[in-house]
């Protein structure tokens, strides 16, 4: 089956991100397809490449990035949510003349159409909200 997973929670302020990550791993472990993981609302913060958590704590952003690259997942961050929260890729950082970009390479920034597409293409949609 094809799954779309939607994540609304920021990395540490809520368990939603961790739950979404564990669920996504389980989907893959069971041989199903992850059509897309869509990060919306505060979920966009999971795409940060600038986080530096203490070494004895989990690094959920790195976990998502590693999962994404290992399994060639489509990890999509909503552009509107991202911009208002200071999550920018190099293109957007240049467009808005910002001093840095913040989105890890394993994530792509795109529009809400990707959420709707995932909803229509997947067999199952599971949302991890706050």
């Amino acid at each position: 089956m094809k799954f779309a997973i939607v994540v609304y929670g920021a990395p540490y302020s809520h368990q939603a991100s961790r739950s979404g990550y564990l669920f996504t791993r389980a989907v893959l472990d069971m041989g199903h397809e992850v059509h897309r993981v869509f990060f919306y609302h505060d979920g966009v913060y999971n795409a940060s490449k600038l986080a530096a958590p203490p070494q004895d704590e989990a690094d959920i952003q790195a976990d998502w990035a590693t999962l994404g690259s290992t399994h060639d997942l489509d990890l999509v961050v909503c552009i509107a949510s991202a911009l208002r929260r200071g999550m920018l890729d190099p293109t957007e950082a240049a467009r808005y003349d910002k001093s840095a970009d913040s989105i890890a390479d394993e994530f792509s920034i795109s529009g809400l159409g990707q959420l709707i597409d995932a909803t229509l293409e997947a067999d199952k949609v599971v949302t991890f909200g706050v």
Partner: protein
């Protein structure tokens, strides 16, 4: 069967409510969408809101245009409306009132649910 049911459960002051509305508008461009306002989401429908002094956007003023986007099915729950001491006249758009069982049926009458 209608394609996507949007379930709005956040009060209007949350950016999640506004971003949920954005998703509904995008959804309506690609699919047949319905929307139901439950819990504190019901308060997104209250007429006469003015969030701008708080730095908010009066996105709920856009609900009147939902019909133009092809979203003609707007629902809320009668029990919740009554408990909030609100009436249909207090809301900014026409809605269909459903009882609890009809809300459950609504979930099953759509292909997918997106919750905000």
């Amino acid at each position: 069967m209608s394609q996507i049911l949007f379930v709005m459960s956040r009060s209007p002051g949350s950016i999640n409510a506004q971003e949920g509305f954005d998703a509904l508008l995008m959804g309506s461009a690609f699919a047949t969408c319905s929307v139901v306002f439950l819990g504190t989401g019901l308060f997104q429908l209250v007429d006469g809101q003015d969030a701008e002094p708080l730095g908010g956007k009066n996105f709920s003023h856009g609900f009147g245009a939902l019909n133009d986007y092809g979203v003609s099915e707007i629902y809320c729950n009668k029990r919740e409306l009554d408990r909030a001491d609100l009436a249909i006249q207090d809301l900014s758009v026409p809605v269909r009132l459903l009882d609890d069982d009809e809300i459950n049926a609504l979930f099953n009458d759509h292909q997918m649910i997106l919750s905000f």
